[in-house]
């Protein structure tokens, strides 16, 4: 048991911290969010150059042999700066699923260029009715000739507009909400029959609604086994959850720091408002919440590679519950302690608050993961 970072990991942390400091001053971020893509291709290229896009993949897969800890380190810094580059959909989700389930040829064709910064991905699983059930998928992929035809709808697909390839979860067999019968396809973002409606999200990311109207794909686009995608997706999503938790931890550190600074400087009744005990205690509760979030994120990061699937799932769900709870507490408290300034668009706090809010809703909110955790714990 050892909870300290190795030297290379500390260097990675420093580099990520520097990146955020240099590129993501608050007003800078506003500008980046307003660009056409909603992120900067030059930042993406720099991430590739720094080796971040490949750090969590094995050397055999063309990566640099790191893992979940490295992802945690950069995601936490990204959270501090509210970084907009699509690291989560491309590297953690897309890259993660290709590494886990892809053939040698797919890794060659997809993972290698992704690591070089030349390919981006999006992961399309959610449908209108799905809520947080990864098996509640009805977009159909029907066998046709040697390939498949995809028809149906996918919603809130992050980074779809910039993605070269979209990894689509489709139903090849089985009824509604059956875990068996799901298959992953790697679909060209410009495939015929695929239409997009793009929009910004509440927290300044980009996402799209996708409509598949008889999109034909070859058999070689199947990622992993036909009908057997569910466990791959569940694992990938659990990893994404842990990465999101790290991002949220960074957001909480930043929002707490900003609030602490504010209540030390904002004066009312002739004193800094941080002299009032209600605010002091609330601020302490914010820090306690952030500490707990950090602890649970660390726990989940260290358990997400466990051989036992129940251990992995409980770890991811447990951390997500904590992040939901702590993120809401820190976010709402920060706004409240800023008074009127907290509800405006002007300061960074409201932007951290919005991101923390949306993180809770992604891949299952606090309630969902509490239920999932308790079911797993009861079964054990």
């Amino acid at each position: 048991m050892d909870l300290s970072l190795a030297d290379e990991q500390k260097q990675l942390q420093d580099a990520a911290e520097r990146f955020v400091r240099d590129k993501y001053a608050f007003e800078n971020r506003r500008k980046i969010a307003a660009t056409e893509k909603g992120f900067l291709p030059e930042n993406w290229a720099q991430m590739a150059e720094l080796g971040w896009l490949g750090m969590s993949f094995s050397e055999a897969d063309g990566g640099y042999g790191g893992g979940a800890i490295e992802t945690m380190i950069v995601m936490e810094q990204f959270g501090k700066g509210l970084v907009l580059e699509p690291f989560l959909p491309t590297v953690v989700l897309g890259g993660g699923m290709i590494a886990a389930a892809g053939s040698a040829a797919q890794k060659q064709a997809l993972l290698a260029p992704m690591i070089e910064g030349k390919k981006q991905f999006a992961f399309a699983w959610l449908e209108r009715q799905s809520r947080y059930n990864l098996a509640d998928v009805s977009l159909k992929a029907e066998k046709s000739g040697s390939g498949y035809t995809l028809s149906g709808h996918k919603g809130v697909v992050y980074n779809a507009a910039s993605a070269d390839d979209i990894i689509v979860l489709a139903r090849t067999a089985g009824g509604a909400r059956e875990e068996n019968g799901l298959t992953l396809f790697v679909v060209d973002g410009k495939a015929k029959g695929l239409t997009r409606r793009d929009y910004p999200t509440q927290d300044a990311l980009r996402a799209s609604e996708l409509t598949f109207d008889k999109v034909s794909v070859g058999a070689d686009t199947v990622l992993g086994s036909v009908d057997g995608a569910h466990p791959v997706v569940e694992d990938a999503v659990d990893r994404a959850i842990v990465a999101l938790c790290a991002e949220a931890t960074g957001c909480m550190d930043a929002i707490n720091a900003a609030t602490l600074e504010y209540i030390k400087t904002r004066k009312q009744f002739g004193v800094p408002i941080g002299k009032f005990q209600v605010l002091q205690h609330r601020m302490v509760d914010c820090f306690t919440n952030a500490q707990e979030a950090r602890s649970m994120t660390l726990m989940a990061t260290l358990k997400i590679d466990d051989k036992d699937a129940v251990v992995r799932r409980k770890a991811a769900s447990g951390a997500k519950v904590q992040i939901g709870k702590s993120g809401k507490f820190c976010g709402q408290s920060a706004v409240q302690m800023h008074g009127g300034m907290g509800v405006t668009d002007e300061l960074s706090v409201s932007h951290y608050f919005k991101r923390l809010t949306m993180i809770d809703l992604m891949f299952g909110n606090q309630q969902h993961h509490l239920t999932r955790y308790s079911n797993l714990a009861m079964a054990a």
Partner: protein
């Protein structure tokens, strides 16, 4: 003590319902029903209809043109308006400056200002807060210096809700900078068209524009616009704050909000079933509904005290605290119900009312902005921390 309505009260309820159905513009009703943002004209058309009927100033005494509702009638009126999806009455004229004028103003002032408030032909806004004076309102610094029969006003106000729609603003200004902070303040009515006034928008975190900064640069205000005595404006301010806290509990709106939430929870799916069948979620709604009921009965108790001659006192702060938390909780659960489909940010649909199609159901795009925006309810009208400070001092004697 009795919870049942008398036959007269039931008849009154029918009259209100019929009136609302006949006079609430359908497009406005639709907007409220669907949680959309209202424009100035939307509020005005409805308030003017109420004004014609004599109901807009439903909290005013008969003497000043109020309908003289009993507490039960007030309760019925507010609830039916909410049930029928009428917009909330903008409080600045009817609930704030109006009562100040009829309580502290001169006869000329009553004649000049009250009719337009009763009929909603003039839009008022509130100029209390300043950048350096939020919770500590008495530290305000906007200066008004007497110069013959005018005051010359210099300074800035902030957080003016709907100041960009307003014809008039009522302001707290400092007329005696040497007096103790509460003692040098006066209550002044200012025409927004007076030269020297600039209004600058503040954008909220949901992207909306509802509040403003208002700058005063040598603005000439007739001395006749002073309400009450010079340097005694704090009395008006305190009186008004108590009134403001009562309305702010927004119980009828919250009851409506809970119903809307349930409807959304019925429309959303969770594992193939309506979300409302999810036990955890259903319990959260139940908990919320119980809170609303408790608040409603507390408010009824306060109204009944007032019917027996009492004034709303510091215990009203308790209503604001719980009311604002409940409003927030409604939006929090609505957001939870909508889930990932709340992510799309559609400013056109949200602010300009374009006919852009929503992503997912129509209510989805409103959920997150509402949740973000409603964080304001525990801050404005005296933050909850300040309200608790007041209760602990005034009610508990701490």
């Amino acid at each position: 003590m009795d919870l049942a309505f008398t036959p007269e009260e039931l008849k009154f309820a029918e009259e209100v319902r019929a009136f609302v159905k006949a006079n609430l513009p359908a497009d406005v009703c639709d907007k409220v029903k669907n949680g959309k943002h209202l424009g100035r004209d939307d509020y005005m058309r409805w308030q003017q209809a109420l004004g014609k009927k004599g109901w807009l100033v439903y909290t005013w005494p008969k003497k000043y043109g109020g309908p003289g509702f009993t507490p039960a009638e007030r309760y019925i009126f507010e609830n039916i308006c909410a049930e029928e999806y009428a917009p909330g009455i903008i409080p600045f004229g009817t609930k704030m400056v109006g009562p100040v004028i009829y309580t502290f103003g001169s006869d000329e002032q009553k004649q000049k200002y009250l009719p337009a408030i009763r009929e909603s032909t003039v839009w008022w806004c509130q100029g209390y807060s300043e950048p350096g004076s939020g919770s500590d309102l008495a530290s305000l610094r906007t200066r008004a210096e007497k110069n013959g029969d005018h005051y010359i006003v210099n300074g800035s106000k902030t957080w003016n809700t709907m100041g960009h729609w307003a014809d008039w603003i009522f302001c707290l200004v400092r007329t005696d900078p040497k007096a103790k902070s509460q003692e040098g303040i006066s209550f002044l009515l200012i025409d927004m068209k007076t030269p020297g006034i600039t209004v600058k928008p503040i954008i909220m975190m949901d992207g909306g524009h509802e509040v403003n900064e208002v700058f005063f640069d040598n603005v000439k205000v007739p001395v006749a616009n002073l309400v009450g005595k010079e340097n005694e404006g704090w009395t008006c301010a305190k009186f008004l704050l108590a009134n403001e806290r009562l309305g702010i509990a927004a119980v009828p709106q919250s009851k409506r909000g809970v119903e809307a939430l349930k409807e959304i929870a019925r429309a959303e799916t969770d594992n193939g079933k309506p979300l409302i069948a999810n036990q955890g979620f259903a319990e959260k709604i139940a908990d919320l509904e119980i809170q609303v009921t408790a608040l409603e009965f507390t408010e009824l108790r306060v109204l009944s005290q007032m019917a027996h001659g009492g004034q709303p006192g510091p215990e009203v702060s308790g209503l604001k605290i719980r009311g604002s938390e409940i409003q927030q909780r409604i939006t929090e659960l609505t957001l939870e119900a909508v889930g990932e489909y709340s992510a799309p940010y559609l400013p056109g649909l949200l602010w300009q009312g374009t006919n852009e199609a929503p992503v997912g159901p129509d209510y989805a795009h409103l959920a997150a902005p509402r949740y973000f925006n409603t964080r304001k309810t525990t801050i404005y009208g005296g933050s909850n921390e300040i309200q608790k400070g007041i209760i602990s001092k005034m009610v508990l004697g701490l």
